[in-house]
């Protein structure tokens, strides 16, 4: 398997990473090397094996449906790049 430069461009777009042609080319070579390493995995027979995400096979804990978080809006917004009247500012998306 090998990624074309169009594949790499698509991945960069999905990952929201701006990349120029030169960076796409460099990434293509390195990603293909890494997928060469990963390819070893494909030949393994895993029929009937359940996927493992947690070593103790725990289920998610449930909690009571009540408010536990204090209001920290001011503290959180103090470190934001741009806020106005308690709102996070981003470039306009609706004309």
């Amino acid at each position: 398997m090998s990624l074309s430069s169009a594949d790499v461009e698509k991945v960069a777009r999905l990952a929201r990473l701006a990349m120029n042609d030169q960076e796409i080319q460099a990434a293509q070579a390195q990603l293909n090397n890494i997928f060469g390493l990963i390819a070893e995995m494909q030949a393994v027979d895993t029929k009937g094996i359940a996927p493992m995400s947690h070593s103790q096979d725990l289920a998610q804990r449930l909690r009571e449906d009540k408010v536990t978080e204090p209001d920290q809006r001011a503290a959180f917004q103090a470190i934001a790049p741009q806020v106005e009247q308690g709102l996070y500012l981003v470039p306009q998306v609706i004309e």
Partner: protein
């Protein structure tokens, strides 16, 4: 004083032989003198450290001191600490002063320990050499032309150079054990779920685990006593009774069964590393242990499996860095999508972008089963190998890293070569087992070699016993680099 154990420091503080303010100031002075050559710290804040020291002195005077009260501990810069710049080694968080404490940090605060500073690390913990840090590479105190390992390289260098009494690390694929080995110190990655991940900036959530790094197994036990514990804010935190990890330190090792996986002693390990590890095994036989030959047949698949799972989880975790709520925002952009793309392109370094792209690809439409699901299935096979092995042995031993510390820049252009330096540590994270590294000698160019000790689930106290007994019989752990 800089050679004292945590227990000795605690005793001296409680006996009023030294104050926490004096102790903290001495460490800060030592950092000022030696850190420029090592770059082990990203942030120091003497005012905040000394304020904590004054509070610790008051607590000691009131007779309310715990084991670590008043002792200066350095924190890996992956842990959010209220009021402290917390960068995770990235330009993306160059201005992030955390509004809250990680669970691990609040545990140290409750214990009265001093936050001595935030240690350097590979960007977002992605690296094995500390060269991916936005704040410059850390130098190995044994030879400043060499890497300290990574990603907890700043912590490892700081502990080795005696710039702190002990420090924290995190380990996703070997990030505590490998730098501990390369810098000649001790480090422990607990069973997944023992230390809360709350406030520990996420890399690969199903693998990330915090743990202590220090100069001896005894120090690690005291650190883990503070760090471990259930926290409802981490959905994978385990509800278990509180335990004293130092309880078994002095047990004799007679009858201990040590498993040696044949796959760890095959090709790939440097002959200098092999020699030191074999000498350590011989020492364990003298201490009464018996050797069992075991096999971990699927462990060879751990590197490919890891490089699917960890980037997949990272690409998802790192999607939160978008230049909107905190962290870096590009100075110029045309619209919202352009702002995201430029902020992320400029805020992340090359290795982080590489892993985000691998992860984005393996999770993208049509590839999920072939990559992520297949990797999770092999992960179970790798874990089952360990379960089988522990029917015949109590602990597993082998090398931590295939080589001693390599030169800065040596593996810079080849990610695959860098990834292979974690070949002995990754399987442990995939299985969720506890693993540690302790110094066991010196290899080529007089650089330290680490012995890896892998325990069964929740067997940290036994592993610390096994390490402590070795450290009572040898003095590798007390060797210090000349600065």
């Amino acid at each position: 004083m800089f050679e004292s154990s945590l227990k000795q420091l605690g005793d001296a503080l409680r006996a009023n032989k030294i104050s926490s303010v004096e102790l903290t100031q001495s460490y800060l002075d030592r950092i000022t003198r030696h850190n420029p050559a090592l770059n082990a710290f990203i942030t120091l804040n003497p005012e905040m450290s000394l304020a904590q020291a004054r509070a610790a002195d008051a607590r000691i005077a009131a007779g309310k001191a715990d084991a670590l009260t008043g002792i200066p501990i350095a924190q890996k810069d992956i842990f959010c600490a209220k009021g402290w710049l917390t960068t995770c080694g990235s330009k993306m968080l160059h201005n992030f002063v955390s509004p809250y404490d990680a669970h691990v940090i609040s545990q140290f605060n409750n214990a009265g320990a001093i936050n001595l500073g935030k240690t350097n690390m590979d960007e977002f913990a992605m690296g094995s050499s500390n060269e991916t840090s936005h704040y410059g590479a850390v130098k190995n105190p044994w030879d400043t032309t060499r890497v300290p390992g990574g990603s907890s390289g700043g912590t490892a260098a700081a502990v080795a150079a005696r710039l702190c009494a002990a420090a924290t690390g995190t380990d996703t694929g070997g990030s505590i054990r490998q730098p501990a080995a390369l810098c000649g110190i001790s480090g422990l990655k607990p069973t997944y779920g023992v230390c809360s991940r709350y406030g520990m900036i996420a890399f690969a959530s199903s693998l990330d685990q915090a743990g202590p790094m220090g100069r001896s197994a005894e120090d690690l036990a005291l650190m883990l006593n503070v760090m471990a514990g259930f926290d409802e804010r981490d959905s994978t935190s385990l509800q278990r009774d509180k335990e004293d990890y130092a309880r078994d330190l002095n047990k004799p090792l007679t009858g201990l069964r040590i498993g040696l996986p044949k796959e760890f002693f095959a090709e790939g390990m440097g002959s200098d590393v092999a020699k030191a590890v074999e000498a350590a095994i011989a020492e364990y036989k003298k201490l009464g242990a018996t050797i069992v030959d075991i096999s971990l047949p699927n462990s060879k698949l751990s590197v490919p499996v890891y490089y699917v799972l960890a980037p997949a989880e990272a690409s998802s975790n790192l999607s939160r860095f978008d230049g909107v709520r905190y962290g870096y925002r590009a100075p110029e952009y045309s619209d919202l999508a352009d702002m995201y793309e430029k902020s992320r392109a400029q805020g992340f370094g090359a290795e982080v972008k590489r892993r985000i792209m691998i992860g984005t690809y393996v999770l993208s439409h049509g590839y999920y089963d072939a990559y992520y699901l297949q990797a999770q299935k092999i992960r179970r096979l790798i874990a089952q190998d360990f379960t089988e092995a522990y029917k015949q042995c109590d602990v597993i031993m082998g090398p931590t890293s295939p080589s001693t510390a390599f030169k800065l820049g040596e593996k810079g252009d080849d990610p695959v070569q860098m990834y292979l330096s974690d070949i002995y540590t990754i399987a442990v994270n995939l299985a969720g087992l506890p693993g540690m590294s302790i110094p066991c000698g010196f290899g080529a160019n007089d650089m330290p070699v680490g012995l890896q000790i892998i325990g069964n689930y929740f067997d940290e106290a036994r592993m610390l016993n096994v390490a402590h007994q070795f450290q009572q019989a040898t003095d590798w752990h007390s060797r210090a680099p000349k600065l």
